[in-house]
Every structure is written in structure tokens, then in C-alpha cells.
Subunit: 264 residues, 2 copies
Amino acid sequence: MTEPDQSADPDSPEGRGGAASVMPAAPPGSGRGSLDRRRILGAAIEYIDENGLNALTMRRLGAHLGVEAMALYRYLPGREQLLDGVVESVIDELYGDPDVHLAAAHGWQDYLQRLAHGVRRIALAHPEVFPLVATRPPAAPWVRPPLRSLRWVESFLDALIDSGFTEESAVAAYRAYSSFLLGHLLLEVSQKGVKISPRDEPEGVPEAIEGTDLGNYPTVVRLEGLLSLDESAAEFEEALENLLERLEVVLREGRSPRRGDARA
Amino acid sequence: MTEPDQSADPDSPEGRGGAASVMPAAPPGSGRGSLDRRRILGAAIEYIDENGLNALTMRRLGAHLGVEAMALYRYLPGREQLLDGVVESVIDELYGDPDVHLAAAHGWQDYLQRLAHGVRRIALAHPEVFPLVATRPPAAPWVRPPLRSLRWVESFLDALIDSGFTEESAVAAYRAYSSFLLGHLLLEVSQKGVKISPRDEPEGVPEAIEGTDLGNYPTVVRLEGLLSLDESAAEFEEALENLLERLEVVLREGRSPRRGDARA
DNA sequence: CCCGGCGATTTACGCTGTAAACAGAGGCAG
DNA sequence: CTGCCTCTGTTTACAGCGTAAATCGCCGGG
């Protein structure tokens, strides 16, 4: 049941030991131990994973924890901070992933590969949370989604600089890498979300999209099969490798990745 | 006043005739003409641009239009559909942009360049709306943000196929292009948003981010200047050109962009 | 024994989205 | 002109939201 989609995506939640899932935390109703910030955030993530983001309210989260809504306010100043905490907690799962390293022990490319797949694993494990990771306003302009954590920014920059990147190119790589991860993963989870969970609009019409007749879009109709293929894993891998190759060129040429001339 | 940031970003709202702005629509209070779906959506976009996304409520939008909230329900089934309409309207601005063409009259690269800059112009003109464009669940899995419109998907695929791309590589290009646009532009507007509008958290602390002492992050501290530079326009241009080059290789090799061997 | 404080609850308020009933302004038949 | 129908916006109402403030039960130290 829920067979491995196709050729076993190594980052999909089923295709793995579950290293990227939330803490055990005990089943929902049985959470009897007294409240605590970690427990609340864990329950919030669990609740969003199960019921979707806009189903999360203070009252319902309280109920899920066997407690009144106002009890949460002893540990969190308000709903916004709850969401911030959720984002932070989800990203912190990276820290416990044994396949992702804080230092580039086996070269910067290995480091970037592991980090990228770690983030992808998180995104796929919490597809309902990831849009939050992507869109919550960052603490500083240069703390970019989806990494959003000073620790990982520091780790990223150190890894590249230690590997020979200049400071400028390390920063440029950080930007390109963030953008790549954000775009790919946000698209992947939103695609996943629409495929499996018509949560917001319970009436899902597979044919005749949104009432528009597709007669005016013959190419779309003709390519619908191709368009519907899910090649997320391969696309991700390929784009990641392309990015790494670009960075390798930058590194070898030993300068900021602003193109020198290149004539074309 | 509000001088062109640096070297005049051609997509920034100030650096242009305003071709990507919403319809004139008359000043807020004076909107006396009877209601109508277009007018409502235009006012909603205007309201979000001015007051932020979560300040938009049916009641306030009604007031902004000089009408009670319930009047809006005669033209829209509910709030969700209002947001869908906002997204659709914003993307439809592309259709009125004279610099963006529906057909690849001057080659597919010109087409993709114009389209990309058109979308970027929209994102920068409506930074508060763009996260909505990025995260609203698409109507079908292959209607991807940020294009989100059958018409543009059709136009995109036709342009590439007419230029010699195979169907497979046109679809792959569509995916890569969406992902590139989404990642770059979402990052750019969220960065912009945090820089100019501390709307949600009115207390902006420029130093000492979120209470963390930066002592544990020496590299971040050392590179803060570099990290804070806003090179969005150049990054965008460079990443776009890189993508076009990749696609050109795909086109010349006349096959799906799945890498044949390439050994490394 | 009291008692102070801590963790959770109760109550309350203003705001939200929206269902349902209502009101008024044309247009048209008689 | 009168009566009615439709079309558009208002009024009223309700459940649910986030959260401020007051309250309550408990529990360890004088």
C-alpha cells in the first residue's frame, strides 16, 4: 500500500527510515504530560500535517493537546509566534538528520548535495508547512528561505569559503542555492498538495478545469500527459547538479560569479 | 525623490512608465460607480498593495469601495474566490504589458526574456500579492505558479515548440522556467518586504536579530555587508541567462533535457 | 495552618466570514 | 398611475476566531 511512487524517490517520506519525521511525541489524544513549548510546536506541526494550515487555530490546537486555547499563551506570545516557532522547528529537523552535515567534511559539493536533499526531505515530509517556511517574512533580509536559520547560513558560508570560494562567490552561491531550493520545493509541494488533497475546495473536478473549456488550448490538451508526469525527483537532481557545475566554474575561475565578459 | 535604487532596475515600479500597474480605477473613496467583479478585484489588489495581505477582510474591502461587506457576495462566492480572483487579475496584467508578447515573434529567447521580466515587474509592483500567486493551490498540478494561467502555459509551450523544441523538452523547459521564476521572485519580494515594511511586527530591531547574539556566527557577522547587498536585478538577469543557455544546449542537441551521459 | 505563586480555565470583547431576511430603485404590464 | 418583478445593496444574526483579564485549583514552604 502506498507503493513507492516510481523508482523509489530517496527523499519521499515512505522511501526512508523516517529520519526526517517529527519527534515521536506520542499519539494525539494521549499527550498528557504537562505543556511545554516543544510539545506545543510538535503538536502544531502534526496538526498542520494532518489537517492543513488554515485548519490550525489556537482553540483546535489546544483541544488537540487536551487543553484550553488560553493555556498555550503561557508558552507563546501569540499565533504569529506560534507559526514562527513551527517554521523554526521544522527547519531544526535538519539538525537531527544524520545525512546532513554541518561541516563540509567530504567536499563542498557533497555538503550542498546532502543539505539540499535534507531540505527536500523536510519539504516532502511536511508539505502543508513548507509554504509557511517559504513565505514567512525573514528576520533579516539575508536570512533567506528556505534555510532561515543563522546556524545554517553560517555553516553554508563556512563550508564554501573553507573550500576555496571567495567571500563574494560564497554569498552569491548562497543566494543562488536558496533560490533554487525555494523554487523547486515550493512547486513540488504545491503540486503534491493539489494532487492528493483537495482540502480547501472539496469538489475536485479532474476534467474541465475551472469551467474553462480547453478547446482554446490545444497544445495544453495535447501535452496533458507529458505535463502531468511527476518527474520532480529527476528535475531536482538535474537542477541541483547544474547549479553545482556552475559553482564549480566560479570556484575554478576564482572570482565572483558576475560574468567577466564571456562575449556572448 | 525615491531615486532609482542603483543603476536603474528596469523592472522596478519607479523605473518605468507604469505599464505593469493596475487599471486607473479612480481614487479609493471616489469609486462611486456601481459594483462589478473587475472593480472589486482591482480594489482588492490596491488594498493589499497598500495595507498588506492580512489586512484584507471582506468588511474593510467593502468599506474601501464605499459599500457593505455583503454586497461583495453578489459578485464573488466568498473570500477564497476573491483571493483566487486577485491572483488571476494580477497575472492578467501580463496580458496588457506591451513588452510581453504572446507569440515568439523574435525568437524563443526574446520571448522568454520578455515574459520573465514581465512577471518580475508584476512581482515588484505587487510585492504583497506575490506570495499569494506563489502559494495558492493551482487548478491542476501542471498549472504552475507563477504563470498559473492556461493561456500563458499554452503560449509558452507553443513558442518553444514552434522554435524547434521537442514536446518533451518544451515541457521540461516550462518546469525549469517556472521554478526559476518562482524561487527568484519570491525571494526578492520577501526580501523587499522585510526591508521596507515591518508591517506585522511593528518593532523592527536592526541590530541583535531576534535576540540571538551573533557571537556564534562570526562568518555571518563578517559578511554582513556582502549579505545585505541587494543585487536582485543582476542575479535575476544572470540566472535567467544561464537558464536560456541551458535550454539552448537542449534545443541544439534536439532531445529531452534528461542528460544523455556527459560522464561527470 | 495559611499562603503565595504557578498552570490551566472561565469569561468577555471585538473582529471575522457568511447565511438569511429585508429594502429600495428602476422597468414593464395592465 | 398602480401593481409587481427583478436586480442591487443593506440589515440582522450567528458561529468561530485571537486574545486580555479575572479566576480557580493545586502544591510546596513558612
